[in-house]
């Protein structure tokens, strides 16, 4: 007798590696990898620094289908050098976005897990991230939605945090973190009084999935289940957001208000309290469904400026 409960048990996005995420997100057997490990397009900058390569330079790219529709996908491997962007890694992602410009898929799905620029090839990484941004915005100009998924152990930081916010929509789980400078960077440069990076609860109240959802920095907060990410991608892929002058002027107003309302806050709890949440300290403890229900009114306000 087949054990269906085993078959339908969820796959944690957090626990999965880059390839497993793709395999479970897309339609079964639909993924065809480009420039895969057998092509050995590795970084030439690592061996001189005693760092082993990865055959795919830490990013998996390719074509696939989502709900029957053609998509292009990239998935960063956080386990390899924190998913950091080097010359080859960056070029694979820029190339994928340029391929989207010619192939015009239903959408581009970016599974982002990165500390930003790979220091071992810092200059190449920085320029590469700028190239990624330009290519991504060109894809959006063509009306092709670019969706970002965040939810692994390494978070999405550095220049990739900027790339993330260039996407049409972002989908995150509670475990995910999204920011610019990592908490440890702030602690090291500005001191532990400024940011105690070892205070995990504080970190998640500052850059974690639930807080980013409260701010409107991400559009969807989902369970840590690849099936939940898949459902959210299918829903959002049909909602590209054109970057018109009007849209950016709206965003300018929204961000100005956010700075005015919360610029003096030092903690996520202060922000949520200001937003009118009755028991802000409870938010981190709620499961996703209860959380979304609790904050429905406040979250709706993000889209009604």
């Amino acid at each position: 007798m087949t054990d269906y409960s085993q078959q339908h048990r969820g796959h944690s996005y957090y626990e999965a590696n880059a390839r497993q995420r793709i395999a479970h997100l897309l339609d079964p057997e639909s993924f065809a990898e480009l420039l895969g490990p057998a092509d050995r397009l590795t970084s030439p900058h690592l061996e001189p620094l005693g760092q082993p390569c990865a055959f795919d330079d830490g990013i998996v790219i390719g074509r696939g289908r989502l709900d029957g529709r053609p998509v292009l996908v990239a998935s960063q491997e956080g386990g390899f050098m924190g998913g950091a962007v080097g010359e080859v890694h960056g070029a694979k992602l820029t190339g994928l976005l340029e391929l989207a410009q010619s192939e015009k898929p239903a959408g581009v799905i970016l599974m982002l897990e990165s500390g930003g620029v790979r220091l071992h090839e810092a200059n190449a990484g920085l320029i590469a991230i700028s190239e990624i941004i330009r290519a991504l915005l060109t894809v959006r100009e063509a009306g092709i939605p670019v969706l970002g998924l965040i939810g692994g152990a390494y978070g999405c930081f550095g220049g990739m945090g900027i790339v993330a916010r260039c996407c049409d929509s972002l989908i995150i789980n509670e475990e995910g973190r999204l920011g610019l400078s990592g908490p440890d960077v702030i602690e090291t440069t500005m001191g532990v009084e400024e940011f105690d990076a070892s205070d995990r609860a504080l970190v998640w109240r500052t850059v974690g999935g639930k807080h980013r959802y409260m701010l409107g920095e991400v559009q969807c907060l989902v369970e840590d289940d690849i099936a939940a990410f898949r459902a959210a991608v299918i829903k959002n892929i049909s909602m590209p957001i054109p970057l018109t002058l009007e849209a950016l002027e709206q965003e300018q107003l929204h961000l100005t208000r956010r700075l005015q309302d919360f610029g003096q806050c030092q903690d996520g709890i202060d922000v949520w309290q200001s937003m009118g949440i009755e028991a802000p300290a409870m938010l981190p403890l709620l499961n996703i469904r209860d959380f979304l229900e609790s904050v429905a009114a406040q979250a709706k306000a993000n889209y009604e400026d």
Binding site: A91, I127, R134, L137, G159, L245, L248, Q252, L255
Partner: protein, 237 residues
């Protein structure tokens, strides 16, 4: 170079660029016509507030000055490092500035960058690196991170990084390194006004930095790898 003499050298015919609290905005008169100018000075750290101010000016230019070129003058120590800015979603603010500049470019505003002092990491990424063409003064300082900090974070010996940086332009600070990688198009020495005029007249041709990096042998793989992806044929059957 100090900002006031720089502005006078770039715009001998005059300018109305205001400098306040590390932010620059305004217009200058160049040979080919009026140029919008924005940027930073005094090594300003790019915070949420700074990003909003710069974005506001860009949106004004798009709304009110069709076709005007935008010159970005860069002197920044990088992104603002503060818990409060991270809490607000600083990456989102920088992304907004980037999107506004991209809009300007699509609407026909040429984007030109001149790094005249420091250009660091996220601060540079948020505006200067978005230009069609990026130039730098010879004594400008462009970097992701200084070598001692890099050594601490990577846990690699500083001496190893110093030795390798002589052979490889890929990670160490320096205008010349960024030039070799295609990140900087050209290095400007006086007379600056002539360089600006030539830059304004140059035809834009998309993001040419990978090709420049390949030609200059600083980035031998990026152009090839992205081309391989673009040319990849779907498997049949």
């Amino acid at each position: 170079m100090k900002i006031e003499p720089l502005l006078n050298e770039l715009f001998p015919a005059g300018h109305s660029v205001s400098v306040r609290a590390g932010l620059l905005s305004g217009y200058g008169s160049a040979g080919p016509g009026q140029v919008a100018v924005l940027g930073t000075t005094d090594h300003l750290a790019v915070s949420a507030e700074v990003a909003l101010e710069l974005a506001c000016f860009v949106l004004n230019v798009v709304r009110e000055k069709p076709g005007v070129a935008i010159l970005m003058l860069v002197d920044t120590q990088g992104q603002k490092l503060s818990k409060a800015d991270e809490l607000l979603g600083l990456n989102g603010y920088l992304a907004h500035l980037v999107k506004c500049l991209d809009l300007a470019s699509r609407r026909g505003h040429r984007l030109i960058t001149l790094v005249y002092d420091e250009a660091v990491s996220g601060g540079f990424l948020s505006f200067g690196l978005m230009a069609d063409d990026i130039h730098a003064l010879a004594d400008a300082q462009i970097r992701v991170m200084n070598l001692p900090a890099m050594a601490r974070i990577t846990k690699l010996p500083l001496e190893t990084l110093q030795e390798l940086s002589v052979k490889s332009p890929s990670f160490a600070p320096g205008v010349d390194n960024f030039y070799k990688l295609g990140g900087v198009l050209s290095i400007w020495r006086p007379p600056l006004a002539d360089h600006l005029e030539a830059a304004l007249k140059r035809q834009t041709c998309g993001d040419h930095r990978r090709d420049d990096g390949m030609e200059r042998m600083g980035r031998k793989l990026a152009a090839r790898v992205s081309r391989l992806v673009v040319d990849a044929k779907p498997k049949t059957g």
